[in-house]
Amino acid sequence: MCTLQKQHSANGPPLLNDVAGEYFAPLDINGRRRDADERPELSKGSVEFVAPTEYMVRPPMPPLYFFLIDVSLSSIRNGMLKVAAETIKSSLDKLPGFPRTQIGFLTFDSALHFYNLKSSLTQPQMMVVADLDDPFVPLPDDLLVNLSDSRHVVEALLDSLPSMFEENTNIESAFGPALKAAFMVMSQLGGKLLIFQSTLPSLGFGRLKLRGDDPRIYGTDKEHTIRIAEDPFYKQMAADLTKYQIAVNLYAFSDRYTDIASLGTLAKYTGGEVYYYPSFHANLYKEKFSHELARDLTRETAWEAVMRIRCGKGVRFTTYHGHFMLRSSDLLALPAVDCDKAFAMQLTLEDTLMTTQTVYFQVALLYTSSSGERRIRVHTMAVPVVTDLGEMYRNADTGAIICLLSRLAIEKTLSHKLEEARHVIQLRIVRSLQEYRNLFAVQHRLSGRLIYPESLKLLPLYGLALCKSLALRGGFADAHIDERSAAGFNMMIIPIKKLLKLLYPSLSRLDEYLLKGEDDGKASLQRLVLSAERLDPRGAFLYDDGFRFVLWLGKVLPAEFVKNLLGVEAANSPDLSKLPVIEQNNELSRKLLATLKTLRERDPAFYQHCYLLRQGEQPREGSLLLFNLVEDQIAGTSGYVEWLLQIQRQVQQK
């Protein structure tokens, strides 16, 4: 005998809905639908639906890439223009969306240069617009073209761009007007806007001032102002861009102040990303830039997307953290989101007690695929509800906690002092350990020991690492303001694993590993504690935080070894900063490059440039390596032991 189910409740609120006639199916003896296993939406945690017409306001958009490139003197001198043009050209075949992909270019210095890419031309035609107060678009069509139709014209343009501006001595940058012009060209369709900027915007609206040089502002109430955009133009532009489904990725190259805090606002509110290459020089950093740009152009992208997360009764999402535009309190607008982005949300328990055993979370992304199909991707997760607080602690996820804490801290720095943001991190850790301690205070006599669950044993360590991270550490002298801003933007979008590696990088002894013969094939790099005392002057060490490598050479390392590994120059010259790591003609060097390659391939989203460093080489040694050895007490910060003592004292205070 079987029972028929005419009503069902979705896994959200316990409301009953009628089962539509055509969706009806009988239940088995366990009360489960007989056809549940054949229906992915009822048995799989991740499902994708094809969206019907109600879910689109317009036909699915084609993938669209628009390049806005600064061709002022700085871009020519540092070689950025050449690398960008070459990389774009070699990525053309791999741009998603064939045959509908659209492409366009706009270069600028003190004027705007538009390019007619009509397919019937053999060479692109450049049109210069010098009116910056009221920029206009000189052609209604053909500034944005179908890549397949105009491929030859696009390639001709990319080939000639470096030579076109080779002699350019123009130092001005009309960034604001150029951005507005790019927006006007792209606004009908939307798409990805990739901006390449090497200098501070200096002309027209949106020009930026040299601020952030004043050390006196640190520690005052005005400190946070240098970390946010001063000119409302940027946030307003970001809002307009998002409205028309345009996402901005900013590539910044400079050895001087370019106000990343302001420029990055464009990426932040359009769901984009900031790539920062300080002191960029093509002959050194070419691979890194090229690799990351190619990745950006070819990775899986979701166009004109919106995301919403829902949950069961008894919980409610309060805040969202990441790069997006928030609409109507719970809808995240993401003009063009990709597979390398992560988002964090905070939830709160509602007043009503949770009576169910399980609470469900469901996140849905409505998007247009690169193949021109409107889809909805749904992930559903069931989480058990426990009545014992201790049990909840024992199942805590340190990675998720740290990820959320870091995003909250970065956001705090936009309205408060760095010191306060760091203090809040420590406070939160202390409070959570206090609550845990209180669970046992009644039954046991707790002496002055620190009580914590196994699951949170690394929480204080990561908390310390977070306080010492580039975005949050110290004060004026400890990080350049642009680097700080860029690091902050980066931390708001990377996934948990990447963040944990960034906060607590890996340090391994390299010379012994490389010298081991082939028979030891299974040997892998052993991770060491991040402390300077582990750095043996007789050895070579590799430091990897996921974004860069630092190859540290001890003082007493045999010169022969260095010569084999890195070449004669490395062995003899005192200044290793300009030396690239190139494969030498020997087994040792080959093994080194192979190791670096394997490590780089672990995460295709970023490419680690390898910095060479000799022991004692200041100030590089400090900034590249020593300040990042988080367990050490250095330059006025606490070491791991002091930090734990501080926490323990504060936990016991209440």
Binding site: R100, Q188, V306, L331, E373
Partner: protein
């Protein structure tokens, strides 16, 4: 010149492809939203099964719709009223010829909206040929007497699509136009659990009369017994 191009299946109005617009004419991209909604109304009307003429022009100030229906697919374009009708229909014929090269069975079985979105590349190419009315190619088409455009009916749009349909569509379209209305919260047509229930319907139509009849008979018998004593 040609402003908007839409291709849909006649049987149910399912959109198959649409031309890509690059640059917002003047500064009102939203103007075209209005006309696109009108085009959708037209598709709906054509899908209702009345086999009208396969070619027609519908004037709608300050533009004009031209459409052709061929092999179960309807091709609509929106042009300026000053754009030569002959060229507009040549354009539609060109589109139809290219689209007709696609697999017929795929068109009939398509269930996803904009299943042939990739065709927009072809629409763009053909549209470009018709942009300038004074090219050699277009002039010769205009002078070609063989294509009899005078026989194609011209009507006012509002005549053909009644004002009720117009109004309903406008209400629906304002809902859909808000781009952040991504995931609808509740169905707009909640079925009444009582009124629309099939069981209730059966009860009402079949059993009620029978019960009523039996009740009346019982009352009559009782009345007879009560009034006249024993039967």
């Amino acid at each position: 010149m040609v402003k908007v191009t839409m291709i849909a299946r006649v049987s149910d109005g399912l959109p198959l492809a649409e031309g890509l617009e690059h640059f917002r004419e003047l500064n009102n991209g939203s103007d075209f939203e209005f006309y696109k909604q009108k085009a959708k109304l037209l598709f709906n009307k054509l899908s209702l099964g009345e086999p009208g003429p396969s070619r027609m022009s519908l004037r709608i100030e300050p533009y004009c719709f031209h459409y052709i229906m061929e092999d179960g697919v309807c091709y609509i374009t929106l042009c300026d009223q000053s754009y030569p009708r002959k060229l507009a229909f040549h354009y539609l014929e060109d589109l139809q010829r290219e689209f007709g090269k696609l697999d017929r069975s795929k068109i009939e079985t398509a269930s996803k909206p904009y299943a042939f979105i990739k065709f927009d590349v072809v629409i763009q190419r053909i549209r470009k040929l018709y942009l300038d009315t004074r090219t050699q190619r277009n002039l010769s088409k205009l002078n070609n007497d063989q294509y009899k455009v005078q026989q194609i009916i011209t009507r006012e749009f509002n005549e053909v699509i009644g004002s009720d349909e117009n109004k309903n569509a406008e209400d629906a379209s304002t809902n859909l136009m808000i781009s952040n209305r991504a995931l609808p919260r509740l169905s707009n047509d909640i079925e009444s659990a009582i009124r629309d229930s099939k069981v209730m319907e059966k009860v009402a139509l079949k059993w009620m009369p029978a019960i009523a009849l039996v009740t009346v008979i019982c009352i009559l018998i009782w009345a007879r017994v009560a009034l006249w004593g024993v039967m």
